[in-house]
């Protein structure tokens, strides 16, 4: 993927919490459609990206992304700054919706296929510089996990599997999977330097 020629090159677009997403959500909660347009600019990429990553099918991913973005409009007043960052809140809404979609019976057939083939590694992203840098940092930190931690987290988050399903797929016990997920995320959190 080539670097885009446009203005997002360089600093400012990278990863961490955009400074005023919380404020934008506050305006959205008051019915401000212009503010929602800015929220769309910020979040449509990650929302669509995670939906595509989890559900795989572009048409379904688009539906999920639309549902999620409308839900962000509808529930902007539910965001609580004292409970964590605005980006994490919004992307939790997105990820849950994507996971709900693949866990519904309609997607059973796809699940069979996905169960057979391990999820692709980070091979299909990075169309903007910010995304590329984010992607590189996350990949670097994911490399710092043990292979079993990485595998558990990848199957659960990008594959949309429950921890019980992950345990089944990997042929290990539930306790082992739970602690791999938790320990792996703690290590990832510390490596990325994120704070609630």
């Amino acid at each position: 993927m080539n670097e885009p020629g446009g203005g997002r090159r360089g600093a400012g677009a990278v990863g961490a919490e955009p400074p005023d997403l919380a404020e934008l959500l506050g305006r959205v909660a008051r019915g401000d459609q212009d503010a929602f347009g800015q929220v769309y600019e910020r979040l449509s990429g990650p929302v669509y990206g995670i939906a595509l990553r989890v559900v795989r099918d572009p048409a379904q991913a688009e539906e999920v992304a639309q549902d999620v973005l409308v839900e962000l409009w509808r529930k902007a007043s539910h965001y609580r700054p004292d409970r964590g960052g605005a980006t994490a809140w919004a992307l939790t809404v997105a990820h849950r919706r994507a996971v709900d979609r693949v866990r519904s019976s309609q997607a059973d057939r796809d699940r069979e296929e996905r169960a057979g083939a391990p999820p692709r590694e980070y091979d299909e992203v990075a169309e903007e510089v910010g995304t590329r840098l984010e992607h590189q940092q996350v990949r670097r930190c994911m490399r710092g996990l043990t292979p079993t931690q990485r595998e558990s987290i990848t199957l659960a988050y990008y594959g949309g599997y429950t921890y019980r399903e992950v345990a089944e797929l990997l042929g290990v016990g539930l306790a082992a999977v739970k602690s791999r997920m938790r320990d792996g995320l703690i290590r990832l959190r510390d490596c990325l330097g994120v704070q609630p």
Partner: protein, 234 residues
Amino acid sequence: MSHEPHDLAGPYALDALTEPERRRFERHLTGCAACAEEAAGLREATARLALAASRRPPERLRGRVLAEIARTRQSPPPLARRLPSPRTRGPAWLAAAACLVLALTGGGAAWHFHRDAEHARALNRQVAAVLTAPDARTSTVSGQGRVTVVSSRSAGKAVVTASRLPRLPSTRTYQMWWLGPFAPRSAGTLDPGGEARPVVTAGLGDARRFGVTVEPAGGSPRPTGAPILTLPLG
């Protein structure tokens, strides 16, 4: 079934729980501040996994979403059940916090349907900021009604709740004052209006006491009568 719900922090942050498990774990979080904090931190990490997967959506999505939101009614803010953050719990203001929460839920209907939802949210944040200040102090007085003041010198603000104050004619209003070795400074007017909702007032400075007077509607630059009540400030 897990006997150690804490173990589920990882699967929870990854949305790798079933719906009933998730609900159970969230109930656990409401009673465990450390767990809630850990879960929030892990959520920040999983959000980065989503950011790293970012893809530009098809152009048509924007038009569809904007058209749909234009005809979609927004959901009102949920009424906060727990105002104070669990992180800085301290006995000094716990009673006041409980009292304020009661006041809030008592006046909940009015507050909940407040027309300006964002105002309510902003107020909620301001109240929480004072309540969770490490130097928050509480004073309460009962008599003609009940007034509670939680003040924080570091924040320079106080949260005031009043309930059961006698109704005033529309030409009169309750006004709050900062009192000390200086001329009384106005801390704003107080509208008990039936529902007890908290007021956040700034300008605490070096005030020693807090007082309430009855003034002509709109308030006065200085008190025109003796306070109906005063409270010491911590």
